[in-house]
Symmetry: C2
Subunit: 347 residues, 2 copies
């Protein structure tokens, strides 16, 4: 597989991305190619100075005037035509690459994806998905690609989410929940009530029904369907809360490791303490976004994964690996088949 | 002040509510009366057997066929006309009581509030508010009273939230944020963009602008305006997450207190450990809903506070005290003045 890495994306940029690519390169096969898109001089410098033993094939495609994390989509479409985002997605369009990963500006990547590679036939609007790193690790979509959805959009998000979970996690018949404000069928806004009907009527969907905000932490469903407005707010709330919990706990944990080590050495009976310490560390890690490499942009005619702007090298590496995996498992072709089928049924 | 307690509301019901009333009674003054509405025989039994020294005046009003936590609003309006909720709100309507508190079924209380005491003139739809127990403790509203708002509703929620925070927390000029998906003015759904305009145009409002999901944990605003759909999902998500964090930590904390006590006694140098333990305990408490007695139903023509169905006695007691406070500080009259002013400006 040929995976584009937007080497310039993210809050930190090239340093983190090159380090991530290097981690990924050790897990890729000799069939794979990483296509670095970005500042050629800088990329070459990293590859010559730091990663001279880069173990897989790579290409470099130069870009200029790259996308900033604060660029707005409409402005970027006009003014960032030669950016790494634009050029990388152009490669996917021309079938010179199989997948695209960037820890970059979500809105701009969405805009260029629609411009360059477009939607899969039958898909009204794409959706941004995210594997929620707690509970049963459900996929939640949309997270902002479609803030003002119609019921048909929400129905399509269910279809997109199902195919993603089949491919990415090998779940045979993923269970879908519609995020609303009560379990009864009649709950929620008018748009959600109509969406509930549309999803119920599709007998191919394993539909749980409405779920509530607390069900992110239960095992009820594999796919959580929501609109881009609510989804975005919930995700940012979760992130804020995780950071808040971490800040609260880390302050408490700081003086602990040495104390525990000393205690355990002097009094071996207290072996429970390191266990306690590591269980809290494990909890903090579980609630971390670092492990999760990329939110899939579903419904566009190519594999596009978007990482968190604050991605560390490990997250960039996961993003690259996931992009490869989704391309090799034919995610886009699978989605196409589903939408062809549902178009066929309408005729 | 005469405060109605719905003695039958909540998941547990009368036992918790009577215990909560007893805690509150010690903080109320000789001017105050608690009006218990519920099963007369049971209430009298508690007062005779457990709380014989009940230190303030009380009345008992009998009810029958009380509201269940699973009753739907429309069904309850027809079938629960003699319930404690209906009778309690009837007392507020007839000015025989100054405030109403119930740890009960939110939807049913909302429905009976609208039927019995109605809206304040000028208020299109009421909003359910909640003081978020983290960060700067902002008020968030609406949480489900109005799941399908128009821009005018969101604007009015800002007005309602401001008056509540002035009265309840004594904040002179509360800062308002509109919960959306990006700080720029143009972000959010069409309805939110219009609401942004309406709030901006009211020069009496100290408007911060759009805020994001992560801003619950920052100090940006005192009032967070959202629709009942998004607000409800965020609140239930928060609750689910807090419980998840607690479950994760409590498992780790269980064997600790004794171990720490033993260690500290035998090696006084390790005084840091109990400190650590209590700081985590404090964190768990901070993230708890138990301390917060009641979500105000704002925009109805009376003081109505709704507690969590899982309220413990302490939470019931806080609910009663807050209901008294809001009534004594003329919350409803203050809101009336604001809406008269804004009606006047339209003429």
């Amino acid at each position: 597989m040929r995976i584009v890495l937007d080497a310039m994306g993210g809050d930190v940029g090239i340093e983190v991305n090159m380090a991530g690519a290097y981690i990924a390169s050790k897990r890729l096969s000799s069939e794979d190619t990483i296509i670095f898109v970005g500042n050629e001089t800088l990329i070459e410098k990293y590859l010559k100075e730091r990663y001279r033993d880069f173990p897989v094939r790579y290409d470099i495609v130069g870009s200029e005037n790259d996308v900033d994390m604060h660029d707005t989509p409409t402005w970027a479409l006009e003014n960032k035509k030669n950016s790494s985002v634009a050029k990388g997605l152009q490669l996917v369009k021309e079938r010179k690459a199989d997948a695209f990963f960037s820890p970059g500006n979500t809105g701009v990547i969405l805009a260029f994806s629609l411009m360059k590679i477009g939607r899969i036939k039958g898909v009204i609007r794409p959706a941004l998905g995210f594997t929620f790193p707690i509970g049963k690790h459900p996929l939640i979509l949309d997270l902002g690609a479609t803030p003002d959805p119609k019921p048909e959009n929400l129905y399509q998000f269910a279809l997109l989410g199902i195919e993603y979970m089949k491919v990415m996690r090998g779940i045979k018949n993923p269970k879908v929940g519609l995020l609303s404000i009560g379990e009864e069928d009649s709950k929620g806004s008018v748009i959600y009530q109509k969406a509930f009907e549309l999803i119920s009527n599709d007998k191919n969907i394993n539909f749980y029904g409405n779920i509530e905000g607390g069900d992110f932490f239960t095992d009820k469903v594999d796919v959580i369907v929501t609109d881009g407005f609510t989804g975005n707010i919930v995700l940012k709330f979760a992130e804020g809360m995780i950071n808040w919990v971490k800040d609260n706990l880390k302050t408490s944990l700081k003086p602990l490791p040495l104390a525990i080590l000393g205690l355990t050495l002097s009094a071996p009976g207290f072996l429970g303490l390191p266990f306690f310490y590591f269980s809290i560390k494990k909890f903090l890690k579980k609630a971390s976004y670092d492990e999760y490499g990329g939110a899939p942009l579903l419904g566009v005619n190519g594999v596009v994964l978007i990482g968190h702007g604050k991605s560390n090298p490990k997250a960039v590496s996961s993003g690259i690996m996931n992009a490869k995996y989704l391309a090799s498992k034919n995610l886009v072709e699978n989605i196409k088949r589903v939408f062809e089928r549902s178009e066929g049924e309408k005729d």
